[in-house]
Symmetry: C2
Subunit: 505 residues, 2 copies
């Protein structure tokens, strides 16, 4: 009998799964055995330093180990970390730590099976084809940035054909590329190909020209044949973990691929989706883009991770953690605070419980996950398991399609950043940038209002200034960028870099 | 009992082999069963168009299939083609064709297991670390180019930090990078690390600064842990084929990795090494760099592939094929001409044999390898097998270490291009470039004369002008570039691009 094994192949120390093939087979075999797993969203407090994680991956791993120890068929879907950022030493990997680790963190952290590299090469090849199209008179300019797997500050702004043409260009990190967004959002190779076709290569006589008008699409899809397959690895306790998609929910969508989550839901009863941190960033993207606009499954429960120190050390910013928890509860998602302790903090547990009670949180889950792994959580999960397994399947939220981009950002600012519409400000040049995006879309036969909104933010702050009192905080819009292939419109807030290309520190 | 299987893992449809580990184990277990295979060098005529191969890989595959059909344990070591060049459509793949094919050409042609991508990322990360070193005052400039997996004409010359610093930089194709050279030449991870440490990052106060002085080496070696493992695939007839290392013998060394050839020699009786075309380029690099300077095994026989049309269609250039055959015979390597026919050329066989006889070649091997595969050659291999198996193991050639770079180029020009020393010309600026390289090496505690010479040439021509009569052909030297980590000094001839970054055509 056909099963997931027929779509799985060994790839060194991990397995790779033809998820497109498996989901397609399930569609053609509606009576085949499958599960309908529930999704748990793991997000985190906004960290005080972006380079020091709160422990989202560690939590995710500890949670599935603990759930499986209780006999629940739980799994997790993680995003592949950016090798370049890890290799540069700007940040640790994203494969957990201590007793809440993956068996082969070095594989996950150091390029996995070449998925990101293939995505980078595919987008860079598109740029090369666009250059050729310029030579052939089909294009006047190139709107797609080049991609780099490793960070380099000086690549934020480059000129190519230097000394002759001096064409100004940008370079973006692989996980933030439109090609990565397309891989994350596509549910079949056909859809992926159609999205690449719809990518706007540049303009000719002021009108959008898409790649579908001049490239051999198979060259790009052949390149991505391995990149579209989720990897399957496991925790040190043997729990299955899928890894697929890219990080950086502040500057892109930063979600695991939709196909990997759907496949996991067909194979397991509980699927923990590790989104990026923040209900303004990681969780916001899962809820408002993946679920609202792309049919991903709404979470049946959520966990918001913080460090005791993050919650405590900067009183001016202490409003952020309750904001995250309350936003999710306000969406009717049973939301569990989780405090991931550092060594030596066990004596703070009573005080943390007291604070949580004062804030009217659900009973927090507290533990040193690095030291104790899932075993440290198991006894605290009764409420979580109850809410998760006994809740009904959540309904789909309604789409924001058709809402103007400014209205859409105002909605996000109000709901996800706690800033009302009247304090959403437009920077000089924003309206011109928006108008240009509207015109570009129209020339491509699209409406800007039909694209899903991606707010591009700083990693460290939810608003223009998180330290001001609540009624003085603002959000300022800087620039609009169209990713027609991914079906996204990106709006840069003033707190963001226009090109997300970090300096190595 | 330990065997090669213990160093082999499945990687999708191919296998990956820990060749460093296996060769290390053989060294510690001198009584373990092993073979001492003989090396056959396959090279080709200089093609009339670089984009239309003579069929080196097809020949290599047909040859091992034919030898194995005769009961000889033959294998081949191929270089991994450049995905970018293939994907761009500038050139076909390099996985044979028709009946002389690999089982999964799409894997070989489209990125294999991410080896090249990892090499590109590693060198690009070095550039990022060098930028950081500039910020920290350890470096004044960066001498290592960035690397791109896909070709793009406009990347030949770029400026980074454009609009502010405007730092001029170059970008090279992955296979031509110093990092690829280091991977091809290293026989252990330790050696690889030492070579990366010795790479000259740039200068400070005019003196060379190496990467070993400021980077965490493990970041680079971790990145390359998969890239150093040869892939094992097979022909459609089940013959084993190893793939490892990069192409482009005209602009770099373009050899398969030394470790993959040595491993193959320990496992099989006959190892066909596919070098690039030309005794001026591909074969020259194997003989004069790999064998002469890096201890690779001297070939016990050679095959020089041509097309009937290449040999015939341009009478002015018809001197090149006999030149290639005669150079190898002159080195006491039994050399077999092989004519790879196109469809409809079978009737030319008698004329081809007559021409070969007139030129005093050995009996040529002639066949349509695409159509007939190894079966078309089997009956013609008696002389080849006899020369191969009955010859004694060849001696090592002596090193050119200590020879000045100009003397060395003159030696190569005379022996490999047929141009005597007095017609080796120095372009304006060459001496200054050479002197700067000497000074750079001295400041790094090296002697330029101790580096192995890599001539960087055009793909289409052996001399400045192959169409002139023999006694008028010249070779002009343009520029010197030091790759201290790889232990190589590159000399650009005027016929080469300074940055090998093709335009997509």
């Amino acid at each position: 009998m056909t099963s997931i094994e027929d779509f799985t192949s060994q790839y060194g120390l991990v397995k790779k799964i033809d998820a497109f093939g498996y989901m397609d087979w399930l569609k053609s075999n509606p009576d085949a055995p499958r599960k309908h797993g529930k999704v748990v969203l793991v997000t985190a407090d906004t960290p005080l330093k972006a380079s020091r994680g709160e422990g989202k991956t560690t939590t995710t791993i500890a949670l599935i180990d603990a759930l499986r120890a209780r006999g629940i068929d739980a799994t997790a879907v993680l995003r592949q970390p950016s090798m370049g950022i890890t290799a540069a030493g700007s940040k640790g990997g994203a494969s957990g730590g201590g007793k809440a680790s993956l068996t082969h963190p070095e594989l996950i952290d150091w390029g996995l099976c070449g998925e990101m590299a293939a995505i980078a090469a595919a987008q860079n090849l598109l740029v090369s084809f666009a250059e050729k199209a310029i030579d052939e008179g089909r294009l006047d300019d190139v709107l797609v940035p080049r991609v780099s797997e490793v960070p380099s500050r000086s690549l934020r702004s480059i000129a190519v054909d230097y000394g002759k043409g001096n064409v100004a260009e940008r370079v973006v990190l692989t996980p933030t590329s439109e090609m990565m967004q397309i891989v994350c959002l596509s549910r079949s190779m056909d859809e992926l190909g159609q999205r690449v076709s719809r990518m706007i290569a540049g303009t000719k006589d002021g009108k959008a020209v898409t790649f579908g008008e001049f490239i051999d699409l198979w060259r790009i899809t052949d390149m991505l044949s391995g990149a579209v397959q989720p990897a399957l690895t496991e925790t040190v306790n043997g729990s299955p973990v899928y890894v697929h998609g890219g990080p950086f929910a502040n500057v892109s969508i930063g979600i695991p691929t939709l196909i990997s989550v759907e496949m996991a839901c067909a194979l397991h009863d509980v699927v923990i989706v590790e989104a990026g941190y923040g209900t303004d960033a990681g969780a916001q993207k899962w809820l408002d883009i993946a679920c609202r606009e792309y049919g991903a499954q709404w979470p049946s429960a959520a966990v918001v991770v913080t460090r005791a120190s993050t919650w405590r050390d900067d009183p001016e910013l202490a409003w952020r953690y309750p904001f995250h928890v309350n936003r999710l509860e306000g969406l009717d998602i049973p939301t569990f605070p989780l405090v991931n302790l550092w060594e030596g903090e066990d004596d703070q547990i009573p005080a943390l419980r007291e604070t949580a009670a004062k804030l009217e949180f659900r009973d927090p889950i507290i533990g040193n996950l690095y030291r104790d792994g899932g075993a440290g959580l198991a006894s605290q999960l009764d409420g979580f398991v109850d809410a998760l397994l006994n809740g009904s399947m959540p309904a789909r939220p309604h789409s924001h399609k058709g809402m103007s981009v400014i209205e859409n950002v105002k909605w996000v600012a109000e709901h996800a950043y706690g800033v009302p519409a009247e304090r959403v400000l437009l920077k000089d040049g924003f309206v011109a940038s928006r108008d240009a995006a509207v015109a570009l879309c129209e020339s491509a036969g699209l409406s800007l209002a039909d694209l899903a909104l991606v707010a591009v933010k700083s990693p460290a702050t939810m608003t223009d200034n998180d330290r001001l009192p609540e009624d003085e905080r603002t959000v300022t819009l800087k620039k609009v960028e169209v990713h027609a292939g991914a079906g996204l419109v990106q709006v840069n807030l003033t707190t963001s870099l226009t090109t997300p290309m970090p300096k190595i520190v």
